[in-house]
Every structure is written in C-alpha cells, then in structure tokens.
C-alpha cells in the first residue's frame, strides 16, 4: 500500500525521515520500502487488515514512536429533510450483512475534485474520477472503509434491499463485465434489480454521472467469508473486496460514512440529509483476553517488565485493566487469544532485543533415517560410475507418455495444471530424462550420462496414491575422462553400474533375465525381477526424440532394493590355502548364456569352486576361468583335474558347448 508521508502526518506527528520510518515499520512486521515523492510502500500481511489504511499505519507509527494519534474529524451540518422519508433499507440476510448504514446528500454538483484531493489520490496510486467517487476512494485509503455511492434517482421504488441473488440473476458491474450470479452471492438491490455485488463492485445502472444530484452513500460490514467466495466466484477483486474479505472495522463503518457525507456535501456544494440508516444485528461485545506476564517472558525467553507490556498494548489501542486486555474493534478477528497478544508485545518490543539462545534440552539425533542414508549411497555409486545427477519436475504431459508407449490412464491427473505438458504426475522418470538428454544433445554435447533419484506416482486403492522412489539413468556417448581413450557406453556399461550398486549394497542372489519390456530393443535388455531393468532403448523410441546414437537406460525400484539391502555386514575369515585356476575355452551355441555356464560350473564343482567367471569372448567362443580352493588343505593337481574334467563333461552334455 502506497502511503504519502504528508497524509500520514495528518494523522500522527513523528520525527523520523522516510528511511527511518521504513526501517521502523519493517522491523515491526510491516515490510516497507521508500519510493520517490515522499511516499512509502507498505506490504500489509494478510492478518493485518487493520493496517490497510493510512489510519492503520498511523496507529502503528504511534505505537512505535509514542506520538499520539489525531482523531478523524468531520463537520456535522445537516439539512431539514430526513433520509427516512426518502429511502427504505431492508436487510434480508443479517448473517452475510451484519451492519448496513446509509446517508444521503442532496443538490450535489458532480464535477472534478479539487487539486489537493486529486494529488493525494494520485500519490496513493488511485485515478481521480469525480468529486463523489473520489471521496469514497479517499476514505477507503484513509480509514480503510470501502463505501459505495448510488444515484438516488436511479434506485427504483426508493428502497434498498440487501439480499442473496436469485439463481441466474444478471448484473453488469462498473468494470463493464457481465456476471451471472448464484444464490451464494449477496447483492444490493432496489425493487427491480440488483444495483451492486455487495462489497465487490457496483453496477452501471445506478452509477454517479453528471446528471446526478442526490446521492445515497452506503457504508457496511459484510461477512468476510462470503465476500471471499463471491470475489473468487465472479473472478473480480477490487480494493473493496480485498478489505471486506479480511474484515473491516465494525466501529469505523459509521465514522467513515459521516466523514464521507460531510466531504461530499462540502466539495459538491450540497447538503447532508438529516438522520442515518443503521441496520445492525446484535453487536458483539469486545473480546477480553486474560494475559499472564510470566507466560509472555517464558515463551519469548525474554524479561520484558510489566510496565512496558502495558504501555505497548495501550499504545496499540488495547485497554489493559489488571490481567484483562480488551481488544479494539479494528483488531477483532485477528486477536482473540493470549498468544496473539504475546506476538503484539514481541513485535513492538522488537524481535532483535530478545536474546538468542540454544534449546536447553538435549536433542540427540535419535534415529538415522536409513532410507535417506541409502539414497545417498545410491547417489554416490551412480556418480562414481560417471553419471550426472539431474532434478526434473514431477509432472509430465500426455505426449511424454505417448512417446515411450506408456498408458495415460495410470497417471494421476492434476485438476488445475499450468499447462498440458505438466498435467500428469509422472509414472516413470524416463520421459523427463529423455527430454534432458535431448536438451544436451541439441547443445553439441556428445557424452551425456544422466540419472535421477525421484518419486513416481501411481494410483492405489488408498485415499492417497502410491509414491515410489525410483532410480533412472539414461546414457549415450562415452563415460571416459579422455577423448584419447576410445570407448562408448553400451549395455555392459550400465549393467556394470547396476552390478556396482548391487555389490556395494551387499545384495546377493539377484539374477538377470532377458527382458521382454517394450522399451528395450529385443535381445539387448535384462531385468532383475521386481527390482529393475537395464538395456538399450528400442530404436523406435529414440527415433521419436530424433536421437541418432544408441541410448541405454536403467530403471530401479529403490524401495524394493532398500529392503534387500538392509542386511548387516559379516566378516568371513580369509582363506589360508592357495587357489588353483583352470581355464575352459569353448564354442557356445547361440542360445546358451554366460550366466547358465557359470551356474552349471558352480553346481557341478560344489564347494570347491570359489569363483567362475568369463574372461574372454570372441564370436561364438567363450573362455571361463574356474577358481578352485579347499578351505582346509592345499588342493593337489589330481584333485583339481578330476573335478575340472567332470565340469567339462557336464558343460558338453547339458549345454552342448564344445570345449576346445
């Protein structure tokens, strides 16, 4: 809110300059910056509707500087004619309109406002319209009470009815927009038509014009929730609706009305009619709160003397009698508990005067969050394998799923997305990483190795969807440090990363089987059941991204991997006897996989085979090395030869390999 300092000084004298004023208000919770032309701009917090006026800021300045607030004045001259003879007001919904007041001004000459008024409005950022509308705007700025002026001659039947709109009722507001209303909306109406959306905006049908002579001035208190809902429903926010939805000052309704009527009469050379209309329900008694001074200092960790506490509250407009604190009308709604008073005291006393301490209790970081720890381990392994960690949005679009051939129905939809491209919660990390891959390839980067650790979101039969932690990697190019070393990523590179992960987490008994997943090129992908997949992305998919080089990807369900990894580490005694190594060179039929050979060697060799692994492959010939060791003795050549021969026999018989 823009506050001209000269205007502010009309309500409270103070000695601070603009910078000091801004600093003082900022440190009291009203973030303020200094603008040119002796104006300050105050950011009013949502709970401080009372500060949405020059008066509100003046009250804060008064509390902070101890300078007294000056009263709001108006002249009380009235004509002989009485408002009750000319206007009848009926409030049909007292819950939505707890107070409705009106005064009338006659023989008003509509014209330009005087220069001083125009200037003030302009400094505050409001456009001047005419001497009547300007006065209502002036008071909105000065005391925070929104008011509306109607041309009395256009109010049919001389009656104002405050009622809910008829369903489908239409109104054209002053901003030139037509609205169709529902019964939830409160309107101001005459005998025939709606003449204003209560608290939000008036209608053109009763607008002040050059022809206007008699004015009905409305000042009211509307239900904040109702105004909030209406403003949202008709998508119209106004200076009035913003104030009403936060709650205006019930007591200010009358003062503002009287001051406005007097000002309009003065500027338009008219006369204020005698009497006023004031329809209000049962007036609530002011809130009284019991305040314990020991509680204040206990919660703040401060030692503010009782005298200071009382002085601060009094300057803010509270009445303090013993332990009882009475809340001023303009703070009703915001302040209703002891804690709310403690905040008031703390912010005027100054947060920076409260000493900083460390919590006295000991808070041993009780439990390690083991999943968080696990995630860090996974991250480290992937980074060690040469991949760059990415962070992508959790939302994707239908097009993303379409490209990787995944069903849209499984994805959870956002009801009010910002764009169709981010309208679904991702069911898979792959599309996001593919987009990152494309981004980088399009910027002349050749070696792009990416991974992300993130959640995917899947429908469940619970109230909330299932959120699964997933690791996904997408790579193409070379993982090597030096361009002098030739070697691009391939299936085995990513499988290696996956094996590193499994080995470092000490997970055993996981087997790779050939994958039938449609994402992988047939024959070039493997899965570990329930855990993950690794392989070359199907060329048809990468072509949809216009990528020419082969792309390899990996996806792992981290929740499942975590459960498998939870085991403790155990020491196994180091071997005391030497091993004997024997190699087997063989021609292998196409459908026999290395894993099958390794498994057979172990099964036939039993406990004496410590390890068996492939160490050379050329076309259809494969070489395996078998490591034999006995835990209790040195193996003799004869023992090893016998077992080795048995293994070769089994390989030939069961897997039809031909040993060279």
């Amino acid at each position: 809110m823009r506050v001209p300092i000269e205007w502010l000084k009309e309500l409270v004298s103070f000695r601070a300059n603009a910078d000091q004023l801004a600093e003082m208000l900022t440190m009291a919770g009203l973030e303020t910056v200094v603008l040119p032309d002796e104006i300050i701009d105050v950011a009013v917090l949502p709970n401080r509707a009372d500060c949405w006026s020059i008066l509100g800021i003046a009250r804060e300045v008064s509390a902070l500087t101890k300078f007294k607030l000056k009263p709001i004045k108006y002249r009380g001259k009235e004509s002989n004619r009485n408002i009750h003879k000319l206007l009848k007001v009926t409030v049909r919904d007292a819950k939505l309109c707890p107070r409705y007041m009106a005064r009338m001004v006659e023989d008003v000459k509509i014209g330009d406002s005087p220069a001083w008024l125009k200037k003030r409005l302009e400094l505050a950022g409001v456009r001047s319209i005419n001497n009547v509308v300007d006065v209502t705007n002036y008071l909105l700025l000065e005391v925070g009470q929104p008011m509306h002026a109607f041309d009395a001659s256009l109010i049919a039947g001389g009656e104002i009815i405050v009622r809910r709109a008829n369903p489908g009722e239409k109104i054209d507001t002053l901003d030139g927009v037509s609205h169709e209303l529902t019964a939830d909306t409160l309107v101001i109406a005459d005998n025939e038509k709606a003449i204003a959306v209560a608290g939000v905006m008036g209608a053109g049908n009763t607008e002040i014009s050059q022809a206007t002579s008699t004015i009905v001035l409305e000042s009211a208190y509307f239900n904040p929730v109702s105004i909030h809902k209406t403003s949202k429903a008709i998508k119209t926010r106004s200076e009035s609706s913003i104030r009403f939805e936060h709650g205006v000052d019930f007591a200010m309704v009358e003062t503002a009305l009287n001051r406005a009527a007097a000002m309009i009469a003065e500027l338009g050379k008219g006369r204020v009619l005698g009497g006023q209309i004031d329809i209000k329900g049962k007036v609530e008694k002011p809130t009284i709160i019991e305040l314990r001074t020991e509680k204040i200092n206990q919660l703040l960790g401060a030692a503010i003397p009782d005298g200071d506490i009382k002085a601060i509250l009094t300057r803010l407009g509270f009445k303090v009698v013993g332990k009882k604190v009475t809340v001023p009308s303009y703070r009703e709604g915001d302040i209703y508990r002891e804690i709310d008073l403690i905040e008031e005291i703390a912010r005027i006393y100054g947060f920076n005067r409260i000493p900083a301490t460390m919590p006295s209790a000991a808070f041993p970081g009780k439990e390690l969050h083991s999943f968080d720890n696990f995630r860090s381990q996974v991250l480290e392994i992937m980074v060690g394998c040469g991949l760059n960690e990415c962070q992508t949005h959790s939302m994707i679009g239908p097009n993303d799923l379409d490209k990787i051939g995944q069903p849209l129905e499984k994805a959870i939809q956002i009801d009010n997305p910002m764009s169709i491209e981010e309208s679904l919660m991702r069911t898979n990390l792959l599309p996001s990483l593919m987009n990152v891959l494309v981004h980088n390839l399009n910027r002349q980067m050749e070696n792009v190795l990416l991974f992300e650790i993130g959640k995917v979101y899947l429908p469940s039969n619970q109230k909330l969807p299932e959120e699964k932690w997933t690791l996904c990697a997408v790579v193409c190019g070379s993982p090597l440090m030096s361009a002098m070393d030739k070697g691009k990523v391939d299936y085995f590179y990513l499988k290696g990363a996956m094996e590193n992960l499994i080995n470092l987490l000490k997970i055993r008994d996981l087997h790779f089987v050939e994958s039938n997943n449609l994402l992988v090129q047939p024959g070039r992908g493997a899965e570990i059941e329930g855990i993950g997949i690794v392989g070359e992305l199907h060329p048809a998919i990468r072509q949809k991204y216009d990528i020419e080089c082969p792309v390899y990807f990996m996806e792992i369900n981290l929740d499942v991997l975590f459960m498998k990894a939870a085991g403790d580490k155990r020491y196994v005694q180091l071997p005391r006897f030497p091993f004997v190594a024997r190699d087997i060179s063989m021609f292998v039929p196409k459908d026999v996989q290395s894993q099958m050979i390794g498994a057979l060697i172990r099964r036939v060799g039993g406990e004496l085979v410590e390890n068996a692994f492939p160490f050379d492959k050329y076309q259809d010939s494969l070489a395996y090395r078998v490591i034999y060791r006995h835990p209790e003795q040195t193996l003799t050549d004869a023992e090893v030869n016998a077992l080795h021969a048995e293994i070769i026999k089994a390989l030939e018989a069961k897997l039809s390999v031909r040993v060279r």
């Binding site: 440190m27 917090l45 508990r337 900083a356 919590p359 060690g384 949005h393 009801d415 030096s482």
Partner: protein
C-alpha cells in the same frame, strides 16, 4: 712368457675399455678369457713349464685373470647403467596428457545444498522425517490452522488432484503427521518437493523445501533465534549478520521472517537485495497453539518452533545463480560447475 702375459693383459684391458655395449664386452670376455683364448691355453700350458718357473708364472696368470675379471665386472655395471639410462630416456612420456578412467559424475546443486542443510541440522540434533508429495487437504491446510475459505489460504496457489487431495504447497504437513504419531521432545527436519502454481525467474512450480520443528517443554522464541542463527552462519559464513522480523504465517505465532545480510553487497545495498542490504531466507515462528490442539498436545505444557526454507533460493544465493529454472533444465555445462 712373462711378456706375453703382459701383452695379453694390455690388449684385454684396452678391449674392455673400448667395449660400448654388453655384447661387445661379452665378445672381449670370450676373446681374452674364453675357453679357446690364448690366456686359457697359457694357463693350460703351465704344466709344461719347469718346476722353478711354474709358481711365478701361475701367480702372474692368476693376478691377470683377477684383474681382467674385475675390469669386466666394473665395465658391465657401467654399461648396464648406461643402457638403463638410454631406456629411461626412450620411455619419456608427455605427463600433461589426460588421465584415464571413468570420469566422475556430479551431484546436483540442489542435492548438495540440501545435504549441507541436513548435515548442519543433524549436528544440532535434528532427525529426518518425510511425507507424501500428494497430500490431503487436511494436513496441508486445516491441520496447520488454515481453515477453508480463509483468505490466508490464498497465500499458496495450489495444484489440486481431486476432492480433498492436492500437491502439498509446503513441507509443513510433515509437522502434523509426525506430531500425530509421536510425543515431545521432538527435533525434526523434513526435506522434500513442494508445488505451487507460480512461474517466473525465481519461482518454479516444483521446488524443494526444508521444514524443521522442535517441540519440548520451555522452548522459547530465543531458542528459535539461536538455532536458526547458528544454521544460517554455518550455511552463509560466520561473519554474516542475521535479523528476525515479525511476519505472518497461520501456523506460527509469533511469526518471524529471517533475513541474512546480502551475500553480494555485504549489506551495503544492491540490486539483489533491492537496496535493503538484507535477503529474506526463511520463515519461522513459535508453533501456533491451534496446531498443537489439532494433534492433542497441551499448549500449556509444550511449546516449540518451526521453520521452512526454499532450497533453490539458498543455492541461488550461495552460488550466484539468477534463474531457478537452470536447476531443472539440467544442462551439463551447468551441472558440471558444481
């Protein structure tokens, strides 16, 4: 005989001295001390000499033999050293060529800053808790003293899924979820993704927050100040000034915005801090009694503070990054700077 021996000796010494390589030295050895050498035949012919002459000639031959063997050995050492030198010079490499192996990847800057924050709070005794991204309206709003149709709900522009399910707008729901299950004392941090319908240079619809709260008997606003000051000094540097200014959050009372002295101008005022000298870093406050009541804690018995911060904002200030979207674009030229 004597002269003959002397002659062989001189000739041999010369040949050894002249040898330039191990093979030529070997050749000299064979020629002068080999089986068929003149020296060997002299040695063999000792028996032909008279008994008187034999000892003297024998001694002379032996002495020459020792001399030649020593010379051969010494020369061999020299030649070996020489050859090793030659080999070493030949094996000289360009030690400035790049190293080998797999290039190490990088950890995303958001993860790095989050890890740093987690570590600092870990040292201060906080444990980690997490909650779902897709959250119930109750945990995101009502349970945090943000009633329906209250204007304070408009502080967050929310993505809705359906009915009372939404994308959490902050990590604060974890507060309610943890307090529902556990009793004080509690010191918890809750890192995670949050979602708001905002998009500009400093706002992303997805971003990371770190929430924290501490509840026990006799926790004060002073404790809030002390804990957060310690955290901010560890993140931004010990010399940085920190200030607390009153603010409003529905779930804390009193509420405080926490500012750090501008990282760019050290508080003198610049474009980054909009000439204020301060940067807004986090929101905090004493947990509102209404939040405690919602989880059946007695606000007369317990008090506590809570805080929340945007991780991207901290990363942007720490590293001097001017657009939040760089984090989610994942350009390798960006990622590899961290």
């Amino acid at each position: 005989m004597q002269e003959k021996i002397k002659l062989i000796e001189n000739e041999a010494i010369q040949a050894i001295n002249n040898a330039q390589s191990i093979p030529s030295l070997d050749e000299a050895r064979v020629r002068f001390l080999g089986k068929n050498s003149e020296f060997m035949s002299l040695l063999k012919s000792l028996g032909d000499l008279s008994v008187e002459m034999r000892p003297q000639a024998g001694a002379q031959l032996n002495s020459v033999k020792n001399k030649l063997e020593n010379a051969l050995r010494d020369k061999k050492i020299i030649l070996l050293q020489h050859e090793q030198q030659k080999k070493i010079s030949a094996e000289k490499i360009d030690i400035t060529l790049p190293g080998k192996g797999i290039r190490r990847g990088t950890i995303h800057p958001i993860t790095q800053v989050m890890d740093e924050a987690k570590a600092i709070f870990g040292r201060l005794g906080f444990e980690i808790a997490e909650g779902p991204d897709i959250e119930l309206e109750y945990y995101n709003f009502d349970g945090l003293n943000i009633p329906a149709h209250h204007p304070s709900r408009d502080m967050w522009s929310t993505f809705f899924i359906k009915d009372d399910v939404l994308l959490r707008t902050h990590t604060s729901p974890v507060q309610v979820r943890v307090m529902e299950k556990r009793k004080p004392p509690l010191a918890i941090i809750a890192p995670g993704r949050v979602y708001r319908r905002d998009y500009d240079a400093t706002h992303s619809p997805v971003f990371y927050q770190l929430e924290g709260f501490l509840v026990d008997k006799n926790i004060t606003f002073g404790d809030l100040k002390g804990t957060l000051t310690e955290f901010l000094r560890q993140i931004f540097g010990k010399e940085k000034k920190v200030r607390f200014r009153p603010s409003f959050f529905p779930f804390t009372e009193p509420s405080a915005e926490v500012d750090v002295e501008c990282v760019l101008c050290q508080g003198k005022g610049c474009r980054l801090c909009k000439d204020t000298g301060w940067l807004e870093i986090l929101g905090s406050g004493m947990i509102d009694p209404n939040v405690f009541k919602g989880v059946s804690y007695d606000p007369e018995m317990y008090s506590g503070f809570a805080f929340g911060m945007g991780i991207e904002r901290i990363a942007m200030l720490k590293y001097g990054i001017d657009s939040i979207h760089l984090f989610y674009e994942n350009d390798l030229r960006f990622l590899e700077q961290f």
